[in-house]
Amino acid sequence: MATSILSVGQSALAAAQVGINTTGHNIANAATPGYNRQVIVQGAAQAQNFGFGFLGQGVDVSTIKRVYNEFLGNQVQSAQTTKSGLDSHYAQIRQINNLLADPTAGLSPALQEFFTGLQDVASNPTSIPARQSALSSAESLASRFQSMAGRLDEIGRSLNGQIQSSVADINTYGAQIAQLNDAIGKAQRASGQPPNDLLDQRDQLLMELNKHIKVTVVAQGSDYNVFIGNGQPLVVGVSTYTLTNVASATNPEKLEVAYRASNGSLVPLAESALSGGQLGGLLDFRSQSLEPAQNALGRVAIGLASSFNAQHQLGFDLGGAAGGAFFTTATPVVGENSNNTGSAALTASISNVNALTTSDYRLQFDGTNYTVTRLSDNTPTTFAAFPQTIDGVTLNLTAGAAAGDSFLIRPTVNGASGFGVAITDPAKIAAAAQTGAVGDNSNALLLGALQTANTLGNGTVSYQGAYSQFVSQVGNKTRELEVTSSAAGKLLTEATMSLQNESGVNLDEEAANLLRYQQAYQAAGKVMQIASELFDVLLSIGR
């Protein structure tokens, strides 16, 4: 009997020790990211029948479990990936927003000064200083266009770098999750017990992964199988499928995300499949904010240059010669898909600036018909022969297209960077409407009137109006992201709070547990001491 008492005391002592150890572990990891508190699960040991009844045999620690609610965990992951996506889009678009922040430094003042200079020419058509000053303000307008375009290009280039590093991070996290799948599987098979800290680490890695891209997880045994987009696997069991970057088939300056197919070829993933997280945010920013911004600014530049040139060429300069082009204009950028099998070459030119939109276009050949899709709203136009004019852009394709060939047409993307002043001689400003009339300012008046004429957007907006639309577009999108990102932040906080209230460590609670297990340990010691004294009584009998 006495040995049984001793072993009961010892089991109690051991259980209290495990309790103190677990409490200490909780306290130690109170600030560890992704740590879920652990509790011991203990139960009465199998009792022994002594005829007079079942005699308790002490306590058994059956397992140590982590307090983790998978449902709440999934909610946090999903809120996190939404929030990270919005945050990364917001951080990027803020750069454009800040570029437009100072109203005295944007395009507007340069535009106004240019037309002011032009009005001065109208008032003093024979004055060379007035003409020179108009030319100088035209130069400063051009440099303003170019510097804004340069800044947008720079943002685009740094975007490529961020996409690469985000993809590298995703691959790293994928590999680590696969390793943990392996380690967890081994530990669980060997002991039959859950390796809590490894499980926490894997959930935390999943959280980090979700910060980069939205993933779906399918648990299979002890493994997490991780998928992105439309079911593209990233981790299956202990193996990983790495993502990589490829240049877009129609635009070599644009990086796309691709995976390596089983035959070894690189297959680009559709941007719509890569939503959420930092990577999704960067891709959203590129397609929804940066490219439209470049196009919108380009449209103002091309619209101004083309319509101004048209009027300028109707006039005559100080020497009586017919007016030439005042501004240089950019031409549309055509990207031939590198996978095209045909030999057809596409040329695009702007035939009507008034009809220009801020969208890009895709031309596709199905073997008989050609389809041009406006990418901003996916409006298709189908036809069978060239040349074809769509939204003010005239397309011409040489023979030799093969079915499946495609081209990307970006009419206004280079508008702002290609905007320049074509004349250097102030006498070349065509202020006169008739030749040999030096005092004639009629054409200068007509040029000046272009400032407020609705020459763009099918006769709905002026140059300034088109620029205002661009500013408003950026401002509204930034504001929208500011609001949605803050709302997503609230949602994430709520979800994290629910999860942490259940799984997080509360130090007061641990302090109480510490006291509890300390007392249990002391009590167990007392039981063992009494067992030992009982044994002493027996020994003293035989003495």
């Binding site: 800040n98 008032s123 004639d440 408003s472 504001r479 942490q500 799984s503 997080g504």
Partner: protein
Amino acid sequence: MRISTQLMFETASNRMSDLQNRLQKTQEQIGSGRRILSPADDPVAATRALDITQSQSINSQYGVNRQYAKSTLGQVETTLAGVTSLMQDVKDTITAAGNGTLNDNQRGFMATELNGRLQQLLGLANSRDAAGNYLFSGFQSNTPAFVQTATGATYQGDQGLQRLQVDATRQMATSSPGSTVFQSGGQDVFATLTDLVNLLNTPGTAGLAAGLATANANMDSALDSVLTVRASVGANLQELDALDNVGEDRNLQYSKALSELQDLDYVQALTQLTQQQVTLEAAQKSFVKTSSLSLFNFM
């Protein structure tokens, strides 16, 4: 309900950094005097401000154009005032020349005087503006309006009217072709004067009375066309003054609208700053108090 200790710290620090961000923004607004720090703060107002700024810039440019117009019209008016008084002098001389007591010699003196007037008139008709452009040459502003010939003078300019954009919908002609001013209605003032000089240089009185009557009638008609031009110049100058007033009013409205859109309400902003400071301080104090509560302090 149990609370995670870690989260308690995180929530408090997030809350404080949020408050600091807001405080920072208010400070930036106060520092710059601008309510809208970037288009995102108020996209509608920011865009509207851009449009109004352009309207204001165009409006002030029309003001500059009006100054040019006034200056040119002022020179035209001054020149034509000289022309008017010269023509009146000529008319006086014509009347005096009709006096029957004058002899050929005395008429010869008058002819010399009138020839001087002719040169003077040519000089006025070839007046230039401050930039050296001929006022009465139409678009041929580098070419003198008239050159003298044996029978009068030839107009070398054209019929071009230089117009200036003096308001959104108003283009005003600031020049009048010399041919309209000096040679309209079939009367050429230079020919009239030349004929008159020749008449007075002709000895004897045969045809003198008839010639003088013709000259007088022609000078009257020439004076009429000059006065007609002066009347229209005067009306234009008056219109410019009226447009200036409208332009200034408009400028004031634009400034007011811009200020309402962009400018910061300082009273409101400073009140907000104080509120935000108080809130942040309270958050800091309460965080220090609550975070120091721990059961470990009593063990």
